[in-house]
């Protein structure tokens, strides 16, 4: 994913759009929706694991952001602020599905599984080429769904969206060491699970 480096004195282009949207320019806000809706959907889907909920989160998160634009301080990126809203909305949806049981970003992380690599076979070169696009998508979905949501979200924000460790921490209300520890475990667990599909086959193996 291409990222644009912004110098210290340069303004992030989103800030001008936010400023316009604040004065009632809905087209400026629409530009922000167009820019980030896919990422917000992805985050919501990773947390809720439910397509309808994720779609509702996209709608509710952008509407909430629009309502609260005045509260956006501008000392963080608009995107991290928006993700924070979307994460909270997603957790609320999850709570509803679990009939009111409290849900937080800290759930289900008490597992040491995958902290130490076990499958040490090398992968075939370009292992994804052994699968069709839809097979591969299914493998990637199934694999990441097996992780606790607190790991999935850290991995997606940090490695797929390209946020920094600090931004990920701020967005999720976690400490920097917590993000680092979750990221390492998420990466290693995903690697371990993908290895089942991507490892080089020994002679005679199908």
């Amino acid at each position: 994913m291409a990222t644009i480096q912004i110098g210290e004195n340069e303004q992030h282009p989103d800030l001008a759009l936010v400023a316009s949207a604040r004065t009632g320019d809905v087209h400026a806000f629409e530009t922000l929706v167009n820019k980030y809706d896919r990422q917000i959907f992805r985050i919501a889907q990773h947390i809720t694991q439910n397509r309808e909920d994720a779609q509702d989160v996209v709608q509710d998160a952008f509407l909430k952001a629009y309502e609260k634009l005045d509260q956006f301080q501008g000392n963080s990126k608009f995107y991290t602020w928006l993700v924070r809203i979307a994460v909270n909305e997603s957790l609320m949806r999850l709570r509803k599905r679990r009939t009111g049981k409290m849900v937080s970003i800290d759930d289900d992380i008490e597992t040491e599984e995958g902290s130490v690599p076990r499958d040490l076979a090398d992968w075939s070169p370009n292992p994804e080429q052994n699968y069709s696009q839809s097979e591969l998508a299914e493998i990637l979905r199934k694999t990441i769904q097996g992780l606790p949501h607190g790991f999935r979200v850290v991995f997606v924000l940090r490695d797929v969206d390209g946020l920094s460790t600090e931004e990920t921490a701020e967005t999720l209300g976690l400490s920097v060491p917590a993000v680092k520890s979750r990221l390492l475990r998420a990466r290693l667990q995903l690697r371990e699970r993908l290895s089942r599909y991507f490892r080089k086959k020994k002679a005679g193996e199908k």
Binding site: V26, F41, R42, Q55, L63, L120, L140, D159, L184
Partner: protein, 78 residues
């Protein structure tokens, strides 16, 4: 350097966040340890594969519907 010490610095290495000195220690370990070499290369591949393949597509028709709903509410002042 042991494999455990290497693993503790795996993320820093992948994210290119290590000093020149630490990097050379890590590389020295890698040169003699096939297991860590595989762990590093396959973890890098894991990240790359998730970065380059969308796991959850938002279909255009759904996207359009969500946009319309969002913008209709925004135009009415939410």
């Amino acid at each position: 350097m042991t494999c455990t010490e290497f693993l503790a610095l795996l993320d820093e290495l992948i994210d290119d966040n290590v000093s020149v000195q630490t990097r050379s220690l890590l590389q020295e370990h890698l040169a003699g340890c096939d297991h860590c070499e595989v762990t590093l290369s396959t973890t890098r591949k894991t990240i790359e594969i998730y970065r380059s393949h969308e796991v959850y597509e938002l279909p255009n028709s759904v996207r359009q519907r969500l946009h319309d709903a969002i913008m209709a509410r925004c135009k009415n002042g939410c």
